[in-house]
Amino acid sequence: MGVISISETPLHVLAVDDSNIDRKLIERLLKTFSYHVTAVDSGIKALEFLGLQDVENFQSFSPSPEVEVNLVITDYCMPGMTGFELLRKIKESKSLKDIPVVIMSSDNIPARINRCLEEGAEEFFLKPVRMSDVDKLKPYLSKNERKTTDEEECVSNDSSGAMDDDDGGGGNDGVEARSDEDEQIEKDQSLLILPP
């Protein structure tokens, strides 16, 4: 007994990537699954589109009634606001926290992947993203706020699944270069120590 959506409006995905090539790719991939896509090139533009005003603090929320986003898929490495920071802002927002967020990255860094999943990302895709990855988004995209577990399959949040790249695609070089973003994650982590 699940909730069946009778709405005919296509599901709306917000794609965020500073690379024009990757934006074009992800848009095309999503459209083959008949999703409606909005693609932006920065985290700030993504938050503005989602209705969070006030660039400095993104505290004030005034959503556009016409805009309904069912999923956000974002690149990790972006100048300005990283995908991780965008994820955090979304999960911190009372109005946006239920929107599923998926992270994409060309770097296979386990600590980064775990951090994103812990922060609430539903999936972490290694680039280049393929149709089989986008296929995994189906359970997270629902017109209804509640996930109906008997209608939709349970997708285990298996980060090793995201890392297994059997065709040896170009992005999987295993170079574990530490980046500014990873250092920032560690800094942020130290600020998140909760009182006993």
Binding site: L25, K127, P128, M131
Partner: protein, 152 residues
């Protein structure tokens, strides 16, 4: 129709050699799968973006490595972008050079970086020429009234 089947055979042989020699990897096939009647130019469009991006990146890299004091973070950032875009279109040999390039950036090894710059430029020009040849072949097939064979 003999001309068409000959062109189609040529196309298959050429494409196969590009994969065998490592110029292209499976990601290029993925791009082709995304092309259809509603997006008939998808591959050419994406590859054109790659060409534009690459020319800019190569210029930026040359400039960055010519500085008196090289900012290796900046160089790495360009290479990271190049690695990403080449990987997204399946230009495997370019991506592979970028991997080594990033290692030299991390080591702040100027000689290594300069060598990689030459190498990546070389690989880029090679793959660009091959892709342009491939697209020309496609055009010839279409103009002769044939259809582009699907590569498995």
């Amino acid at each position: 129709m003999a001309a068409v089947s000959q062109l189609q055979r040529q196309f298959i042989e050429y494409t196969t050699s590009l994969y065998n020699e490592g110029y292209l990897d499976d990601q290029f096939t993925q791009l082709q799968k995304l092309q259809d009647e509603s997006n008939p130019e998808f591959v050419v469009e994406v590859v054109s973006l790659f060409f534009e991006d690459s020319e800019k990146l190569l210029n930026n890299l040359a400039t960055a490595l010519q500085q008196k004091i090289v900012d290796y973070k900046q160089v790495d950032s360009h290479v990271h972008q190049f690695k990403g875009s080449s990987s997204s279109i399946g230009a495997q040999r370019v991506t592979n050079v970028c991997v080594h390039f990033r290692n030299y950036c991390e080591e702040k090894n100027l000689d290594g970086c300069l060598r990689c710059l030459q190498q990546v430029k070389h690989e880029y020009i090679l793959v660009r020429n091959k892709l342009e040849a491939l697209f020309r072949l496609e055009q010839q097939i279409l103009q002769a009234g044939g259809s582009i064979p699907m590569m498995e």
